[in-house]
Structures are given as C-alpha cells and as structure tokens.
C-alpha cells in the first residue's frame, strides 16, 4: 500500500505553468482539421499489396502495413500552425513536452476508410461550413480523398464486406438476390445500433510491459515464442507482433531524428535543449525500459498513437495510469529528479496530447451523437489486485491536473472502495467535481468488483478493473469486451410488444419482429410482460447474431496486431485479440430507455390492470394521438403520486426496473459471442437517449412524442423529488446484472457554502455506495453536473460566452456548446437537487428545439 506523502491533497499551491497555459489557449483556439495521412498511406499500401482483391487479410499482412505507415508518417515534434474558428490559419511556437501525434494536424480528425470514413464523402466540400462542429479541410485534401482514397474503399469497408457476405449467404439460403434483412434492421436506426462496422476499440491496452521492459524485450519474447511453436497461425501472430513493434520503435526514432534536426536549427539555448531532451528520450523509449517518469509517460503516449493508427478513436481507453506509472513517479521523486510542479506540468501536457484528435462525425450523425469526444477514459484510485488501497500521490497529481485543465478528453474516472480508500480521498474527488462542474465520474469498487466476479472474473482480475470509454468496467489490459457492440433502444422493444411486433416509426402495416399478441386482449399484466420478454429475446437474437457476424468480418479483414501486442493474453496464446486472444473475452449491449420503459410498465400495471382506469385499447389510442384529446390521462400517467415512478423508493416501480435488468441480463447472458465469451449488459447512453428520443412516439409513462429519453440508469427527469429516494431506487438494482457499467447522472445546484456542500456531497456518495449491510449491492457509478439551470439556459443562447463549459453527458464529458440542441435540452431538464435540502429544484421543461 503506497504511503501518501503529500501534505495538501488538493495541491492548491500548484497552478498551470506558463507553458501549459499557453498550450491550453492554443488547444481551445484550434478547431479540428481533417488529416489524410493515414488513409493515404494505408490505401497506397493496400493497392500495392493486393488487399482489395483478397478474401482475407492476414495479421502479418496488416502488421506489415502498420509498420509501413509508422515508418512513413511525418514525425511531428513541433506543430507550427492551427486553424481557428473562422477557418483562418494561425501560427504559433510549440513547446510541448511530448513529441509525436495521432495525426499530422494540431487537432486532427483521423480517417478510417476501413470503417465509416466514406460517410464524409458527400460533405467534403461543405464540412468546413456546417453549423455543428465543423472540420477544416484543404482543397488538395478533398481532391486526394475523392480521387485517390475513397474510390478504393467503395466495396471494401467493413459494412460492405459484411453486406456482400450476407448477400451470398442469403442467396444460398433463400434464393433471393441482394437480400440483407439483418443489416436492414440496423439501417432502420430505431431498433439498435451496432458498432462493429465502426470500430474495434472499446478496450484498455496494457502499457506496463512497455514501460518496465521496453518494446525490444517484447520483440525478443515474440521471437522466442515464434521459434518454440509449430502452429503456423501462432508463428504468424508472433511475427506480426515483432513487425508492429519494430514499426513503433522506428516512429520514435524518427521523432528523435526530427528533434535533433530542429535542435540543430535552433538558436535559443533553452528551446535547443528542450529539443535535445526530447531526442534523448525518444532514443531510449519505447524501445528500452523507461528510466524516468517522463520517459514512462512518453512510452505510454507513443504506444497510444500507434494504437490509434490501428483502431478508431472511439472509446479506446488508457486505464489505470496512476498505477502503471507510479513506480517511475516514485523513483524520480525519491531521487529528487522530479518535483510535484514538474509532474503536474507533465500530466497537463499529456492530457493536451491525448486530446489532439476528435472522431470523424458526419453532419447527419451530429444530430444523434453531436459533441462527443473520443472517450478516452483514464481510471484513478480504488484498490489493487490484492484488495489494498491503491490511491497514491500520483492519483492526486492527476486529479489536480484534471481540475486545472478542465478538458473534455481524457474522460476521468475515479474508483472508491469504502472502508479501504480514505474519506479524504473521497472528499477530494467531490471537490474536483465541484471545481470542474463535471468530472471525475465516481465508481463504487465494492459493487463493480461484485459485478465482474459474477461474470467469472477472478477477484484479482476484477479488483484490477479500469474504466472503458464512458463507464464500462473491464480488467485492465486483459479484457476485450467491445462494450459498445450493441446500443439497444429498449423503448423500441416495448413498442413491438405494444403493437404486436410492429413499430409506429416503420408503419403499423409492417411486421418487424414476431406477433406476441394484441395487448388489448390481455387479461393480466403478466401476459404483457411475457410478450415484452419475447420481444426482448427476438431483438437479442437479431442484434447478437449481427454482432457475431461482423466480428467474423473483423477476423477476416481487420486483424489487430498493435492492440494484441499491448495486451495480456494474445502473447501467451499466440492469438489475435479479435480471434479470442485476450485473457477475458465478452461483448456487451448497452440499453437506452430503461427508466422510460420501466415507468411505462408501472403505468400499464397500475392504470390498466390494477385500477382499470383505462383499457389497453384506450391507452394505445392515446399513444397514437400523442395524448391529444387524452390530456387527463397524460396528467394521470406523469403524476408520481398517482402512477408509480422509478426513483421514488417505490417497491413496485423499482421491481419493474429489476425485472427488466434481470431479464436483459439473463437473455443476453445466454448468448455466446464470436470469441467464445458471453454477452454482458450495461446502462449508459452517451447522447443516444436524446437521439432515439427524437424518433419515438408517445409512451405509456406519459412521455410525448419526440421528447428525450432518460440517460443511463437515471430515473426519469422531474418525477423524483427526493434525492435520497432516487439514490435508493438505483442502488437497489443488482450489480451482477449491470456488469457492463451504468451511468447515473445527477445535477446539483452550486451552493454558497462550499465546505458544507462538500460534506453533503461526500456523504451522499457514501450513502449511495453503501450496501446497507448486504441488503443491496450499492450503486455502481455516479456522475455529476454542478451548474445552475440559468447558466445552461444562457449557454444555449450565447454559446460564444461559454467555450469551455464542461458537462457530463451520459458517460463521457463534453463541451456544452458542441452538443446538439436536443441533447442540450436533456441536460438542462435533468432533475436538479439542492444538496443542503436533498430536494428537487423545480423548473419548467426547456423548450423542445424546433425541428422539421
């Protein structure tokens, strides 16, 4: 157990250095620029090596391609220009402490034509002028993409390779040409989204070996293993590992050479020395063991840029950096080679580097997912593999850097084990939330570890979990769970049960799933839940089949040698991560609309079956008319005193939530994925609860058409007046059914008496995490927005005044100004509590944005 040597855990004497202040200002000034370096190089290599004509791409072929790109890409030591919000270039003198970049641009948008980059094709000429989150692109780059890159991928991205295979399969099976109902269901958008055509990502690499031993040792290990095995596929795997690791080393050497070149041109002695320092670091790492804290950070950073070369920047996460880097930090501190101020500056510089790229979101998707960063989660604190307190000085250094920087990326997550971690630590976590208004998210170790062990992980593996993407827990560096594989709109499943297998969005004359009975003929509530369970089974079958199908497409066309070489399992098994090489394998569905569906069940149970206030037929008519002409019924349905609502400590309402989470966990848990693992279920929604809300009609809980759904596992906004009761209801849900993580979003009003607020804040978290003497598991996760309603409303009207306003969405953090109007409304409308009273602060719902 590390001893905390810091006197002031807040490190309040330390601020941003001049260097970091300047770099941070540049970061906020710059807008994202499309970078074509990666797509240009991989397209060239793919043409030259016949990949576009191949039915399979081997891991060694892929490794050769990544090595080529790593060796050919521009080694950026110093950026010299960016582009501002008026699309005007600006020059600056860079003095970052870390060299290298994920793209060739200051703030780049990397493109992955293997996945969904071609969705940007129609807007290449207009993306720099679009209203929402524009990207700068040069005319020359438009032409390169249009003429030399995108055409080659027309038939060759993952989605179309999958569609082609479906066509062939269904032609054999049904004798029908161009028949792909499985993909059609996905493309109807309202049922579920699938991430396989978009990315692999959503996992945490293991950096510890690279930091402690260096990549040369990994290469040597791979060579020995290759010589010792007979199986050709394993031999090929180890050769591929060597290939990519040589590529990463070459990239770092190229950075060293570039730093030396720049140093030779530099007249300023200070800047010259900084460049020579960078060069010396890159001559050492990541090839050889890191000898200092800065070298350890550089190793992580260079490996990270390589991981992003291979995998889209969606939810790829850094894991427990305060653990991985602690030895190097401690050694430097003990030897007097590092000060706390140095460490904070280094971490701030790394945080800025981590945010040097944003995902390529097309204009249309901005409406559903606008404002998202790349969701690179970092995890702090908690316990170690043996259950001991893992909070260390570096934890506090990283918290201070986060507090000072207030950046969207990285997405900071803090673990807390009540009774093992100190109360001072918890209080500090709350304090950082108060100061940033939105970060870090807090995770209850006790409940999370219980959830993970219930899925077969050993206690040691479970205790060593890191947070992936938004809030998903996974054993650090050894768990490949593709936690965002399926994003299931649960309200659509309810719709299928309400309308006998049909959906109002696709038309009630079209049978989408299976007929499970007309609810107007049901005599009991159990008949309805039986129908709903059948529909859940139907959608689980479809979505997992599709995910498994695309998983096999990944195996044939998208081997992952870089990620595999930085992971526990593949090296031992001689097997690619996506082929099942990871030590722990699973896939996951995350559920959108839990609270809305649960409250709808409670409404049906109480109003239709128990009180018989309306018939099922009348309820359906009211829904089809969006409650117009049925205002009295809607008033009854939305009133928490008349109709049970989740979040009020109401046993019946909470039991419906429990039934849903247990059913979903059971149904998905029976499914096996393409890597031999099982499916898990989570409840975090990113911005999808707002996006899906736009598509869906009125619901039995009184929600009208197009209104937002509720985020994550959070109760519906505005119907839970007591904070304590809301937390009880959430904490009552069984952790074992929530193994892929939850996001509970709370909004607190900032209060004048900060110390008192901090006391209440920490006590509330303790209470929510408490397992009530074993009567419940305690809540798994909680995250906050601490901002007034008025400030958010004003930020909608005057975004220019709030360029850095950070908010928690449902999992990740975002800049409020970047969110689409529907999502802004959702955050404004979230239930807001005054911690001093524990009561809801009432506001009128924010107006629904005008859309066609």
């Amino acid at each position: 157990m590390p001893e905390i040597s810091l006197g002031d855990l807040s490190l309040s004497d330390y601020g941003l250095s001049d260097r970091v202040t300047r770099l941070r200002n540049i970061y906020f000034k710059a807008i994202p620029e499309i970078c074509i370096e990666r797509p240009r190089l991989i397209t060239r290599f793919s043409i030259d090596h016949g990949f576009f004509k191949s039915n399979r791409i081997s891991i060694l072929d892929k490794a050769g391609m990544y090595r080529y790109v790593l060796e050919q890409r521009i080694p950026v030591v110093r950026h010299s220009r960016g582009v501002d919000g008026d699309m005007q270039p600006f020059a600056f003198q860079d003095n970052q402490l870390f060299a290298g970049s994920t793209t060739s641009r200051l703030k780049g948008v990397p493109l992955y034509p293997e996945f969904l980059a071609l969705t940007l094709w129609p807007e290449l000429w207009t993306m720099s002028r679009r209203e929402s989150n524009p990207f700068h692109i040069t005319e020359a780059d438009v032409k390169t993409l249009n003429f030399d890159v995108f055409p080659h991928w027309l038939e060759n991205n993952i989605l179309e390779l999958g569609r082609k295979r479906y066509y062939d399969q269904n032609l054999q099976k049904y004798g029908r040409k161009k028949y792909d109902p499985e993909i059609k269901l996905l493309e109807r958008l309202v049922f579920f989204l699938a991430s396989k055509p978009e990315c692999i990502s959503h996992t945490i690499p293991d950096f510890s070996k690279a930091v402690k031993l260096g990549l040369r040792a990994v290469i040597d290990e791979a060579r020995e293993k290759e010589a010792a095995v007979d199986d050709p596929s394993r031999k090929e795997f180890y050769a591929a590992v060597r290939e990519v690791q040589e590529g990463i080393i070459s990239y770092s050497r190229n950075l060293a050479a570039e730093a030396e070149r720049l140093a030779s041109l530099e007249n300023d002695p200070g800047r010259k020395q900084e460049l020579l320092d960078i060069a010396a670091i890159h001559r050492q790492v990541p090839e050889f063991p890191a000898r200092s804290f800065r070298e350890a950070l550089t190793t992580v950073w260079i490996c990270w840029t390589a991981a992003h070369l291979e995998n889209p920047n969606i939810g790829l996460s850094l894991g427990r950096l305060d653990q991985v880097l602690y030895d190097a930090y401690r050694r430097d501190m003990d030897q007097g080679r590092l000060t706390v101020a140095d460490a904070i500056e280094l971490i701030c510089c790394l945080w800025l580097k981590i945010g040097d790229h944003v995902p390529a979101v097309p204009e249309a998707s901005e409406q559903l997912f606008g404002g998202t960063g790349s969701n690179q989660a970092i995890t702090l604190g908690g316990v170690d593999r043996d259950g001991n307190d893992a909070v260390n000085d570096l934890t506090y250094v990283m918290l201070r850097a986060t507090e000072l920087m207030k950046l969207r990326d990285p997405n900071l997550n803090a673990r807390y084990y009540s009774g093992v971690n100190s109360k001072d630590y918890l209080r500090r976590l709350c304090e950082v939330n108060l100061k940033t208004g939105a970060t870090p998210a807090l995770h209850n170790d006790r409940a999370v570890i219980k959830a993970l062990t219930s899925k077969g992980e050993t206690p040691e593996q479970a205790r060593d979990y890191g947070v992936i993407g938004c809030v998903e827990p996974g054993s650090n560096g050894r768990f490949y769970g593709h936690t965002a594989a399926i994003l299931l709109n649960l309200t659509s499943v309810l719709e299928l049960a309400l309308f006998n297998g049909r959906h109002r969005h696709t038309g009630l004359d079209l049978l989408i799933s299976k007929e499970t009975g007309d609810p107007r003929t049901f005599d009991t509530f159990e008949q309805f839940t039986g129908a709903l369970e059948e529909q859940i089974r139907w959608i689980a079958d479809r979505s997992t089949d599709l995910n498994n199908f695309f998983g096999k497409i990944h195996q044939d066309f998208y081997p992952t040698p870089i990620l595999s070489s930085l992971f526990e399992g593949p090296m031992e098994k001689g097997q690619d991560l996506i082929a099942g090489g990871a030590a722990i394998n699973s896939s996951a569905a995350t559920i959108i609309g839990l609270a809305d569906v649960a409250d709808s069940l409670s409404a049906i149970e109480k109003v239709v079956f128990e009180e018989k206030a309306v018939s099922f037929g009348e309820l359906l008519e009211a829904l089809e008319n969006n409650f117009e002409g049925y205002e009295a019924l809607q008033t009854l349905l939305i009133n928490p005193e008349k109709t049970p609502k989740y979040g009020n400590d109401d046993p019946k309402a909470d039991a419906n939530v429990r039934w849903l989470v247990e059913t979903l966990d059971r149904v998905f848990g029976e499914k096996e994925n393409y890597r031999g693992g099982k499916y898990r279920v989570g409840y975090w929604t990113m911005t999808n609860h707002a996006g899906f809300g736009r598509l869906m009609q009125a619901m039995p809980n009184g929600r009208k058409a197009r209104e937002n759904f509720t985020s994550g596992i959070t109760p519906v906004s505005g119907v839970t007046p007591s904070l304590t009761k809301a937390l009880h209801s959430v904490a009552r849900q069984p952790a074992s059914c929530l193994a892929s993580g939850v996001a509970l979003n709370l909004k607190y009003t900032p209060e004048q008496d900060r110390e008192k607020m901090l006391d209440n804040f920490a006590a509330t978290v303790e209470g929510y995490f408490d397992d009530a003497g074993g009567q419940s598991d305690g809540g798994m996760e909680i995250q906050f927005n601490i901002v007034t309603h008025d400030k958010l409303a004003d930020a909608v009207l005057h975004p220019e005044n709030y360029p850095e306003l950070l908010v928690r969405v449902s999992g990740y953090t975002a800049y409020f100004k970047d969110l689409n109007p529907q999502m802004q409304k959702e955050i404004i409308d979230r239930t807001e509590y005054l911690l001093s009273t524990g009561k809801m602060v009432a506001f009128e719902p924010f107006p629904l944005p005008n859309k066609r």
Binding site: E131, E155, E160, E187, E363, A364
Partner: protein, 161 residues
C-alpha cells in the same frame, strides 16, 4: 436524352478548355440552379441527372470524378411513378427513364423535395430524410455517399452549395 447531349457535345468540342466548359455549364444549367435553389418541381431528379451529364460533358475536372467508376443507381418513388437509373462506366454516365435490374444502390424517395434534402443536405436533413422514412437506401451505402459528392460537387461548380 441527356447522354445524347453529352456525346454530341463531346464530338463537337473535343478540345473545350476547362474555363470555357465551366462557363458553358453555368450558362446552360439555369434550370438546375433553380431546382437546387428555390424553384423545386417534380422534375428535380431529371434535371439533376441532366445537369450532371452536362457537367461531365463540359468539365474535364468534373468528369475526373467518374474515371474508372462503374456503378448503377436506381432512383424511384415508392409508387414507382418516377423511376430512373444512372449507370456509370467508361468515364460516362448513361441515364435511363426506367429502373435497371442490376443496381448497386437503389434509392426510394417520397417526393422531389425529400430527394433534394437528401442529396443537398446543407441544413442537416439527411438524417431527417432517413428517419422520417422519406428516403430509403438499399444496397451499398458507399455508392450513395459517392453520388452525394457528385451532386454537391456539381452544386459547388454552379455556385449553389
């Protein structure tokens, strides 16, 4: 009809310069500019395909967009009252006033306004078009992205995008 225009033009003016071609494109595509602007009629699809054909005829730079491109599109309304196909091959576009059997991408749209919103999504309407079931795309989605670029690129040359 449009393809005949194109082939005739190419025979008559084989050495037309890029700037002259650009001028001619703007001069002879007034109807299209209107359709892309504020005078939308049910003939939007026909005019768009004609404009593209004219563009391929008059502008080498625009024609470069379809170099080595082979692909077939079918455009139709749900009731099939409007149907057309565009087939790209040999640096040429053939337009037919009927659907072809062997398509790479089939776009079924509610009406001309929906199709225009879909292809010229200057105000974020692609998603609305799909979500409102105004437009359905079957087959390889990358083809519609490519067609979207061709349409937008034409609009850019005409100064309406």
């Amino acid at each position: 009809m449009a393809s005949r225009v194109r082939r005739t033009l190419l025979n008559i003016i084989p050495s037309i310069s890029e700037s002259a071609g650009q001028w001619a494109l703007q001069r002879f595509s007034g109807g299209l500019v209107g359709q892309l602007g504020d005078r939308l009629t049910d003939r939007f699809l026909e005019v768009l395909l004609y404009g593209m054909d004219l563009g391929f005829s008059l502008s080498k730079d625009y024609r470069r967009n379809i170099k080595d491109f082979r692909g077939s599109y079918v455009f139709r309304t749900a009731n099939q009252r409007v149907a057309a196909s565009a087939t790209f091959a040999d640096e040429d576009m053939q337009v037919q006033a009927r659907p072809v059997e062997d398509w790479d991408c089939r776009i079924t749209f509610k009406d001309a306004a929906a199709l225009r919103r879909f292809l010229f999504s200057g105000n974020q309407d692609i998603l609305n078009s799909l979500l409102a079931n105004e437009v359905e795309v079957e087959g390889n989605l990358n083809y519609i992205y490519r067609f979207g670029f061709l349409a937008k690129d034409l609009g850019r040359r005409l100064g309406v995008v």
